[in-house]
Symmetry: D2
């Protein structure tokens, strides 16, 4: 796609994100989208933490879920669902996070996507990987339910 | 444990949940805890939905993450972390959910936990399984990071 | 199903297992099948071990893969594939194993299945859980590839 | 590491593989090892197939298990175990496979590893991704069992 087409795609994808009340509640932004990739950013806000002052694991899982969904959607189109995902937690998230998802392979009806979540460490100013995941996105089959 | 001990454990566990700002944001309740099990309830509120009016997948992932963590904690104690989890999505969640987690097996330093999430279907009034998962809980090893 | 119908189902399922050369190579037996469940047994043989004398993790993964596939097939029929699975390893397998799979929920086109693998511990004579898993079985969609 | 050091590492790693009777049974080769990566190759042999003439899913799971284990071991050393893994199956494997694993991130006691499995398609002569996975490798904690 041209840069212009990419920009339009990102804009449309952000409208989908903005139509998700839970994404608005979390304050997530979609800052990259297209060509089998997507990047979700989540701020480090007090209401997103767990009892030790780190981002809650559920926030990281949300970011992975949505990043793999958008990455898959950039290949399969908007009528998709996340069939499943794996989340591995590696370190506490001490700052805002980026969830970066990349399609590994896609068939006509599904996409396998990997995702890495990095956080800005407030102690060192460095970005570290705090979680990683893998997911499968499927075209919605209206007859399957 | 006696019924009284169970009740105390549930109370203490609910204080941990109440100390998680993200759990308060979501409005989660811990309604069962102890003996290798835990049950997290999440209401069906407008701010927790995705663009089609179902609970967002990230909300289900949050519930699984926390239910397996508390179930593991009921066996291993409070100094734990979720090492990883798997979430499989089966149906859209059209009502409030229960995430029910059960320890499969535990060693001195870790627990394997399974979890099923059911939702009250607003069309039928019946409870259906909307997601299932599996997770590993580990004792926090301060030297590992 | 009647006991007779169950017996027939187990017999047919064992013919499918016998038609899998890799299952013959491993020496796996299907000893329970039907109603959303399946049990695969694998012997403790020298050629199935890893370098420390335990059953190789790949053998446990094979057993989980096949047990969840047969459990799913008992609900969805024979034209199925394993879409994905998770394997968590808990302890070394020091003896023959049983992989016991149970369907959690099924739609018309897929089934979610959990599985636990236990081994007879040659030191204690007791059965311990050595691995657990979760998988998704899907009806084969010939148009999807 | 220098090329010579890499070559030695690969040689030592292949001796570990050769000490795994199950890897010998399967006929697996380790053809790349070091710097957080490993590549396992498995031939397309009659005894490794399932009932439709494709490599059995358990063979792919074996390859992922071992590739992530060696990739993790290249960072953490030989006293490791696979804590868990996820396998997603994308297409039937119609020829010999390569399982290529890469460490995503590592702490002092664990490594997160991703893996992709590709097969030579006997119909087209092209290499296609047939499975992907994610695993966690941990240093063996002798006191944990």
């Amino acid at each position: 796609m041209s840069d212009e087409a990419d920009a339009i795609a990102l804009d449309v994808a952000n409208r989908i994100l903005a139509a998700q009340p839970f994404s608005v509640l979390i304050g997530a932004k979609l800052t990259q989208f297209g060509g089998g990739t997507a990047r979700i950013e989540v701020p480090f806000e007090p209401q997103l933490l767990q009892q030790n002052g780190f981002l809650h694991g559920g926030v990281l899982a949300y970011a992975i879920d949505n990043a793999i969904s958008f990455a898959g959607g950039s290949v399969l189109g908007p009528s998709i669902l996340t069939a499943g995902m794996t989340v591995a937690y590696h370190r506490p998230a001490r700052g805002p996070i980026l969830a970066e998802a990349t399609v590994i392979t896609a068939t006509r009806s599904s996409a396998a996507v990997r995702c890495e979540v990095s956080a800005l460490d407030d102690r060192t100013g460095e970005r570290v990987i705090v979680a990683s995941g893998h997911g499968t996105i499927a075209l919605i089959d209206r007859g399957a339910e």
